[in-house]
């Protein structure tokens, strides 16, 4: 469990690392929205090109890139195959019962591009932004909502703490799985019901210990003077520079293209 996990912050000195976290958060948001809009694929392709550029700027080598795509390779492949087979239209290839249509092929490519954008937006964001920066950015961007009674600062802390404990809980789940296996839990059973029960035997202990953990963390935070107040200094620490203007400029072009 000591390897580098997907979604983990990696310290670096790249263009993306130096960007203001607010810019990155806004950028991700805009990219995802414009990519998911229907009937507008040009914005999607621009986003893909921009993201590839970001990956290059981030200093991610081709080998690492392949490693990142690995976990979603089947998802990409299957969506592409199903989209291209099951959507009817002008036939390109016709093999017995299977036929691939032009429209299907197009939609397949669009879907892959969309998944790519969603996946790499979040990966690049968490790779180049520390959780505290992310928290500050969320706090700063959603600050107006405090006026209408939504506790954004608490929400931001919540995200920060959950990001911290994802690897811890995964590790714990693995330990409990091993413990239950040692007691003969039928994880490899062919019967679905038995398998389901075995999964429950892990889920419930993990949940119970997470609740205990939550109580411990609350006490630890409280004894370090956490009161849930808004921290103005944290927001002031963010700085908006020239590179942020360039980045926002690039992203806004994709909005313009969608609107035109």
């Amino acid at each position: 469990m000591n390897g580098l996990k997907i979604g983990q912050y990696v310290r670096g000195n790249s263009f993306l690392h130096k960007l203001d976290p607010r810019t990155k958060l806004l950028g991700c948001f805009v990219m995802i929205i414009t990519s998911l809009l229907k009937n507008n694929t040009s914005a999607l392709y621009i986003n893909v090109v921009l993201l590839l550029l970001c990956i290059l700027l981030c200093g991610i080598k081709f080998k690492q890139f392949v490693k990142m795509v690995r976990p979603i390779r089947y998802m990409l492949l299957l969506t592409f195959i199903f989209q291209s087979i099951f959507i009817s239209g002008e036939k390109l290839i016709d093999l017995w019962v299977i036929s691939v249509s032009r429209e299907g092929l197009h939609i397949g490519i669009v879907t892959i591009a969309r998944i790519f954008v969603l996946y790499f937006c979040s990966i690049l964001l968490t790779r180049t932004t520390t959780p505290a920066q992310l928290t500050a950015a969320i706090e700063a961007l959603l600050f107006p909502m405090v006026r209408i009674g939504i506790p954004i600062n608490k929400f931001a802390t919540l995200i920060n703490v959950s990001l911290r404990f994802i690897p811890v809980i995964i590790e714990e789940a693995e330990t409990i799985t091993c413990a239950q296996k040692a007691r003969g839990a039928p994880f490899n059973s062919k019967s679905l019901i038995k398998k389901f029960k075995a999964i429950f035997s892990v889920l419930i202990p993990v949940l119970a210990s997470s609740l205990q953990r939550a109580a411990d963390i609350a006490i630890a935070m409280e004894s370090r003077c956490y009161t849930g107040e808004i921290n103005h200094n944290r927001i002031k620490g963010l700085s908006f520079g020239k590179s942020d203007i360039i980045a926002l400029g690039l992203i806004s072009t994709s909005i313009v293209i969608v609107l035109v």
């Binding site: 911290r164 953990r213 006490i219």
Partner: protein, 279 residues
């Protein structure tokens, strides 16, 4: 009043299944600044309750707790009290809130709303004291248990505490991690004049303490120096403690007619004593 943690006639009761249990019965204690204090006691003797009373995490049912003259009942003082009385818990994992070492250290001073330059200065200093400078940008979940516990202490140090309460901090560490942590605590006590209150199961941790407090069933039964507690049979009977091997040896030698006048608790002290005799 000032410059000490004072417990005055403190009682704490819990209601468990409609049944009142007394976690602490009429405890009077003064923890003056600068001491290294060990608290020993069996499970359920009220050690953790006592620790949490020190910084106002829980409030006494009866009596008062004063930190440098500030009453923990008074809500206005709560931030001041908690930044003065730092608390370290048993499980290092559950007290680390951030994913990056540097940000973990900044969490406390951020809650105190300090300016960024000041936070930066404090983080530098705390990293230096706890020997974590090289790990500044490290991910917290990749640290070892000992490193995590040191990180937890460092992130308390950034609040500039006067007192450090440690609730069984070594119980989840291996031998070398435990030894290292105790040495850091001694250093904090001697060089930085931070009062240490170390709650533990392991008597090895607190042999060099200035003062030892033994709790039994919610009451303080002994409050003395480690040597006085471990060398007198009556005190051992009261506390139900098992003396360290070295003390057993010294007591045995004294019984056989060798008059060792020194207070020898550890192997190092014994080695020093023998060397002095040989010269």
């Amino acid at each position: 009043m000032a410059d000490a943690i004072e417990l005055v006639n403190v009682q704490k009761q819990y209601k468990v299944n409609n049944h009142l249990t007394h976690a602490l019965k009429d405890v009077n204690l003064t923890i003056p600044k600068g001491q290294f204090i060990g608290i020993l006691g069996e499970n359920g003797s009220g050690k953790t309750t006592l620790a949490r009373l020190f910084n106002g995490l829980i409030l006494p049912t009866k009596g008062n707790v004063y930190v440098d003259g500030m009453d923990t009942f008074d809500k206005r003082f709560i931030k001041k009290i908690r930044s003065r009385v730092g608390m370290i818990f048993q499980n290092p994992e559950n007290q680390i809130i951030s994913s990056i070492v540097e940000e973990e250290l900044a969490f406390g001073p951020q809650n105190l709303n300090l300016p960024i330059e000041e936070i930066d200065k404090r983080v530098d200093k705390a990293l230096n004291i706890m020997g974590l400078t090289a790990l500044r940008f490290h991910a917290t979940n990749l640290l070892s248990g000992g490193q995590k516990q040191r990180l937890a202490i460092a992130s308390i140090l950034t609040m500039k505490p006067q007192y450090l309460i440690l609730d069984e901090p070594t119980s989840m560490l291996d031998q070398s991690g435990r030894y290292e942590l105790i040495n850091y605590l001694k250093k904090l006590n001697k060089q930085h004049n931070i009062t240490i209150v170390l709650i533990t199961h392991n008597i090895k941790d607190i042999l060099s303490a200035d003062r030892l407090i033994v709790l039994k069933k919610g009451a303080v039964v002994l409050d003395s120096t480690p040597w006085k507690i471990f060398s007198s049979p009556e005190n051992l009977e009261i506390s139900g403690l098992n003396p360290p091997d070295m003390v057993k040896l010294v007591n045995g030698l004294n019984k056989r007619g060798y008059k060792l006048k020194d207070e020898i608790l550890t192997t190092e002290q014994m080695v020093e004593f023998i060397c002095r005799q040989l010269n």
